[in-house]
């Protein structure tokens, strides 16, 4: 989970996201995982991490954002807790020694499967960096929903080092760490990803996560072209059931689910609403080989059909020409006509990495619209949700009170 998603207004939008892909290994082999090339071979060395940090911190003028989020992802980042601890110590030391403006405004952010959360090494790290930390644990919902996808990997990788799934679910190994996590980060949210087989479990899963004490459920459908005929109707049905349960049970007051947002489902103005959706190109990622990417989704292990889009490396730096397409991206140029004419376009997201991977040519300018019917279904259910909720609040005379206190839900794409 990244910082934007935890309802924390901390320097929102003004932070640079810098991601260390510390390992491509993971204990799990989730079936929907977009990381098609996960393997046990590519672990970041200390020398690579240090060279990258030195490169970034030496260029304060090129990285003017007020704040920085140092992101650690994998695979499973906590498999490399020793390296991460060393990286974070070095970052703090160097930002201080250099008088870097980020020393006053930095975060370390983690997206973890939660399995190692309780271990002494991870706990020591949390204790040491508590004030500057955000950690998201991914749990997909009920045990049967979670275990549908989030399974342990087979004990041994294949001859190419590629990891394959086993039959053993990971729910029990994760859920035991949720109380400790929520004690340490009471406002934390979790991220849920929905693919075609997950649709029947959406309602029960969100309610289950609320029941575990997680107040913020960030949930989105995958951008890949995985959808089957009828999925949109099934999806709408699940969201309506979820809407009923949230509203009838009064959960809407203290809990939030990102599927329901008042800002989605409206037409967009071609001039005023022309921004790109995601931050690719404004972020920076580094992998074990020292290659730099506009976002982790452009690393080879995330791509099905295209070559990695490497924008530089820690020795030669960033090639600024390769950032130009990203930094000039807008909504209308990359969207097909149906999206420009769409009556419910707001909130319909895209991922630049998936756009690139699915495009007919080598470009980041062809928007993939595999989620089209799913977004429209979401909009219908979302309209139902707000109509029902506001009617109820009005009848109870509590609408104003609700408006004053409601949790903000920000969009999140990846």
């Amino acid at each position: 989970m990244n910082l934007k998603s935890i309802g924390d207004a901390w320097q929102s939008g003004m932070a640079k996201n810098i991601t260390f892909i510390v390992t491509k290994d993971c204990q799990l082999a989730c079936k929907y995982c977009y990381l098609v090339g996960k393997n046990v071979k590519e672990r970041m060395s200390w020398d690579t991490a240090k060279a990258f940090i030195d490169y970034v911190l030496a260029r304060e003028d090129d990285f003017r954002e007020e704040s920085v989020v140092w992101d650690f992802i994998g695979g499973e980042p906590f498999l490399e807790i020793e390296l991460i601890d060393r990286i974070c110590d070095y970052l703090k030391l160097r930002m201080f020694e250099l008088g870097h403006h980020w020393f006053d405004s930095y975060r370390f952010s983690f997206s973890t499967n939660g399995i190692n959360y309780h271990t002494p090494e991870v706990q020591r790290f949390i204790e040491k960096n508590r004030e500057h930390l955000s950690i998201g644990i991914t749990i997909d919902g009920t045990e049967r929903k979670h275990d549908l996808n989030r399974v342990w990997k087979q004990a041994t990788p294949d001859e190419n080092g590629i990891i394959h799934p086993s039959d053993r679910g990971s729910y029990k190994d994760v859920v035991k760490n949720i109380p400790l996590w929520l004690k340490q980060f009471p406002d934390a949210g979790t991220k849920v990803t929905i693919s075609s087989p997950d649709i029947p479990y959406i309602r029960e899963s969100v309610m289950h996560l609320y029941g575990l004490g997680i107040h913020q459920v960030n949930i989105n459908v995958v951008f890949e072209d995985v959808w089957q005929e009828g999925d949109d109707a099934r999806f709408e049905e699940q969201l309506m059931l979820l809407a009923d349960e949230i509203i009838d049970g009064g959960w809407y007051q203290d809990y939030a689910c990102s599927f329901f947002s008042e800002h989605i489902g409206k037409p967009l103005d071609p001039v005023r609403d022309n921004q790109n959706w995601c931050g690719a190109g404004r972020m920076l990622s580094v992998d074990a080989a020292g290659n730099l990417y506009p976002c982790t989704r452009f690393a080879q292990y995330s791509l099905r059909s295209k070559k990695a889009l490497v924008i530089g490396n820690i020795r030669d730096g960033i090639n600024p020409n390769l950032l130009r397409p990203f930094l000039t991206l807008d909504r209308t140029t990359q969207s097909p006509q149906k999206c420009l004419d769409c009556e419910v376009a707001s909130g319909c997201a895209w991922c630049q990495g998936e756009n690139y991977d699915a495009a007919q040519t080598n470009t980041v300018y062809q928007r993939a619209t595999a989620i089209c019917l799913m977004h429209k279904a979401r909009v219908r259910a979302n309209n139902y949700y707000w109509n029902k909720l506001y009617r109820k609040l009005e009848l109870e005379g509590r609408r104003e009170e609700f408006e004053r206190n409601k949790r903000s839900v920000e969009h999140q794409t990846c």
Partner: protein, 305 residues
């Protein structure tokens, strides 16, 4: 709308644009491919530009070529509508009244002041094509601007004397009120000796596996000006907006490199100075207005768009 078909008659047909032709072995386009190409152009109302190798073609080829209205692009010193010269092979005395494309690397460009000046007194039109545009640094732009000013001084004298030689780097922008880009894949396509279509010869030279179906060019909209976020707001109208260079330098066909923009803006600004200098002495092209700007790369002002 498609308007032109470029037909490369041989694998060694002369390179006339940014990309060198790497082919050294002759491979003449098969006669039936030539016939099909001509037929395609006729049925689609396309003007053909034949690109010739440096040897005489068989008579039946010349006969076939003669069956359609066309332009010839030939290697210098052969005779054609456009003669293409590499700097080292150019003989100035052979260029009187011609339309000449002069291909040069940056290093040659910077020592070509006299050659180009002499050519400008002879030719009807000179197109200078820099073949390693991507190696320009910002420091190179200062001497490049000075070189353009030197040629501009000569052009000014010629224009005031009633002669109008054209130099693409300086006079095109002075004459244009709208973009005049290459538009490969939108207004023109290339037929290679292998019988396949390409966006332009450079794609054939460097990525021969990337041929296109002329009836269904993938992401063709990204080759159009309205889908090029920087170029559609740019007034360096003479710029080629080379989509091949774009693809090579930024990995996206609709986005130019800093170097392409900075070089084109150095030319644009030199054209502006030339226009002002001519206007000091005479009324000239009143409909053209080249504004003073404080950037050399539209990317640097993208926030203002």
């Amino acid at each position: 709308m498609m308007q032109y078909l470029v037909i490369l008659l041989d694998d060694t047909s002369v390179a006339y644009c940014h990309c060198d032709n790497p082919h050294r072995e002759r491979r003449l386009m098969p006669p039936e491919t030539l016939r099909d190409g001509i037929r395609y152009a006729m049925t689609h109302n396309l003007m053909i530009q034949f690109v010739y190798p440096d040897y005489d073609l068989p008579q039946d080829y010349l006969d076939a070529i003669d069956t359609i209205d066309h332009h010839d692009i030939v290697p210098f010193p052969r005779q054609g509508d456009v003669a293409v010269a590499e700097n080292s092979k150019l003989k100035i005395e052979n260029s009187a009244g011609a339309v000449v494309v002069l291909r040069m690397k940056k290093a040659e460009l910077f020592v070509s002041g006299d050659t180009v000046a002499a050519l400008l007194r002879q030719v009807q039109r000179l197109n200078i094509v820099i073949t390693d545009l991507d190696t320009f640094t910002d420091a190179d732009l200062v001497p490049y601007g000075a070189l353009l000013d030197r040629w501009a001084a000569l052009l000014k004298e010629e224009y005031l004397a009633g002669r109008t030689p054209q130099l693409n780097l300086l006079t095109d922008r002075m004459m244009l009120t709208a973009p005049n880009h290459c538009n490969a894949g939108v207004e023109n396509l290339t037929l290679a000796p292998n019988g396949r279509f390409y966006l332009c010869p450079a794609f054939y030279y460097t990525a021969s596996e990337e041929s296109v179906d002329p009836e269904d060019i993938p992401n063709q909209q990204l080759l159009r000006l309205d889908h090029a976020p920087l170029c559609r707001r740019c007034d360096a109208y003479h710029c080629r907006r080379c989509v091949w260079l774009n693809q090579r330098t930024t990995l996206d066909a609709n986005t130019p490199s800093h170097e392409q923009c900075a070089v084109a803006h150095t030319e644009r600004n030199a054209s502006r100075r030339l226009l002002a200098a001519i206007r000091e002495k005479a009324q000239f092209m009143p409909e053209v207005d080249i504004k003073e700007i404080n950037y050399i790369d539209p990317f640097d002002i993208r926030k203002d768009f």
